[in-house]
């Protein structure tokens, strides 16, 4: 079965006043129908830029290189639901817009469909609500409406860029459950972007860990949590609040400046197990079973202790 989405060696560079930022340096991804892939990483690691490159939302000045790509129909929901909607247009108009523009619905059908979508998202009084404006909605409701708007495009793949970060915890759970339902109900594939490994681990099928514009580790969620291969992934897991340890560990240092990306391993500076080679050569994506990570510790010549601690 061919994957729904398949991109190989995606590179994105963005010109800024200070210079060209190589925001995405080498990212390969694939997602199957109905699958949920989570991209996890600190802010500034390039995960949002990856999503925007997929959606072709980057400014025209951005340089995007991609060797092989199959793109399904996609829609996207964003981080801040308050800013997602145009404040001067009604919610209903904005949801109906793709219906009318792309799917040639007439006014009446578009209205009916909008109300149906809103109700499906669990919004009560959908008919009235559709006539209201964004400032009359709460954050959680806006995010549901945003999902409705995305679904109006009939996507095969929904990209969700930190959709719950701006919401409180209980609303967060509701939105996550809604997404899970839609996934099973409509065979909707999900590319879920988050900095929260904990949230992701409960929902995603697979996880890709991004660091400094590269995917440093990718595997099934279970494998990543049970046996992380990359020191960065280990550090991320260690920084999760958990029942086992009461001390939260943070990662020392900060990610490299992507104006001048490192020539070797990007995590070298912050890595506690770094070796001579790490400062000299970029590690390839090295596989172990179904898992793969960009780390010299997985090399046959590396001291065996590395990956198992």
């Amino acid at each position: 079965m061919t994957p729904l989405l398949d991109i190989q060696h995606l590179r994105v560079s963005l010109p800024t006043p200070r210079g060209v930022v190589q925001a995405v340096r080498d990212v390969s991804l694939h997602i199957d129908r109905g699958e949920m892939l989570a991209i996890v990483g600190e802010s500034g690691c390039g995960k949002s830029v990856t999503a925007q490159a997929l959606m072709q939302l980057l400014p025209s000045t951005a340089r995007i290189d991609c060797q092989r790509a199959s793109r399904p129909s996609m829609a996207m929901i964003f981080q801040n639901p308050m800013a997602t909607f145009n404040p001067t247009l009604s919610i209903g108009y904005q949801i109906a817009e793709p219906l009318r523009v792309h799917r040639a619905f007439n006014r009446h059908d578009a209205e009916t469909e909008t109300v149906r979508l809103l109700s499906r998202m669990g919004i009560e009084n959908a008919q009235q609500r559709a006539r209201q404006y964004p400032h009359q909605f709460s954050g959680g409701m806006l995010q549901r409406a945003a999902i409705a708007m995305a679904l109006a495009m009939q996507p095969e793949l929904l990209i969700a860029d930190e959709p719950t970060t701006a919401l409180d915890v209980s609303t967060q759970a509701e939105v996550m459950n809604l997404l899970a339902e839609l996934r099973s109900e409509q065979q909707l594939a999900l590319l879920f972007i988050s900095h929260d490994l904990g949230l992701v681990s409960r929902h995603a099928d697979r996880v890709a860990v991004m660091y400094a514009g590269e995917i440093v580790e990718t595997a099934s969620t279970h494998a990543v949590l049970q046996q992380p291969l990359h020191p960065y992934t280990r550090a991320l897991i260690a920084s999760l609040p958990s029942a086992r340890s009461t001390r939260l560990q943070s990662i020392d240092g900060s990610p490299p400046d992507l104006l001048h990306p490192p020539v070797a391993c990007a995590f070298c500076e912050r890595c506690s197990q770094r070796m001579q080679i790490c400062a000299r050569q970029t590690p390839p994506l090295l596989a172990r079973d179904t898992q793969a990570a960009r780390c010299w510790l997985l090399h046959p010549l590396a001291p065996a202790s590395g990956a198992d601690t």
């Binding site: 959606m55 939302l57 829609a75 996207m76 964003f78 801040n80 800013a83 997602t84 909607f85 145009n86 404040p87 001067t88 247009l89 009604s90 817009e97 793709p98 523009v101 792309h102 404006y133 400032h135 009359q136 945003a146 708007m149 995305a150 495009m153």
Partner: protein, 312 residues
Amino acid sequence: MMRYAIKRIAVGLLTIWFIATATFFAMHAVPGDPLADDKATTPEIRAALLQYYGLDQPVLTQYTRFLGNMLRGDFGISFTQKNRSVNDIIRAHFPVSALLGCLALLISVVGAVLFGVLAARHHKRWPDYWIMLAVIAGISVPGFVFAALAQWLALKIDQHLGNIIPVAGWGTFRHMLLPATMLGLGTMAYLTRLLRSSMLDVQQAAYINTARAKRLSSTRLFFVHELKNTVLPVLALLGPTIATITTGGFVVETVFAIPGLGRYFVQAIQQLDYTVIMGTTVFYGSFLVLMVIVVDLLYALADPRIRLQDMR
């Protein structure tokens, strides 16, 4: 919304009262005697004139009478043009000023939207640089200079190419075009700058990204999503803009010899025609305060965030 409107109107009425009072006392504070020059030749004529204008009464009586007259819309009789009431002057000349002002406002708003959008869409490229250069010039050069230069240019055109644009005067649309454009230039520059930064803000907004994610055509994106949000915050500033154009009209009317109220106002000031100054000041003051309120209410109607404030 209703409460907002009522509050605005109440404050507006208070402001108008204050303008009337300030005008009255300002005129009474003027050093010197309004009848000092040749008008009052003998004590009898002087007394008669004082009585005619009601200047023999105590100040407070004069003030209450003045307020009463203002309420009834009676501004009194001109000092210099005998037998001509201030109301007549306003009625005869304000329409000219209003027409000139409306045309100037139209020109400046249309030009500003055009140039502001053009500059923002070519941000940090040549059209932007040229427009911003022109904006700096437009903001820095006083309106009367524009007016005088345009008139000089019109004269030169007249000398070399024949009568295409009238140099001065009033009557046909051709007469209005040049003064109205000159009157609108400063405002156009000011609004262009605002619209440009407003448009730049809108282009950065997250909801535009959402709209782009919906794969809308660039025409639809611009007209449905960007334009309204760009113009909205600028609409709120239209009140002060009307004030600028109104006072700018005083000067432009003087330069182009247009028989508008502004020119009569300036004349009245130079001739110290007390009743005309008082009447016109109160009239203009009330007009401007009302325009600001009207603009604010229109803005509130246009922006759902304010329109629907009371009902959540």
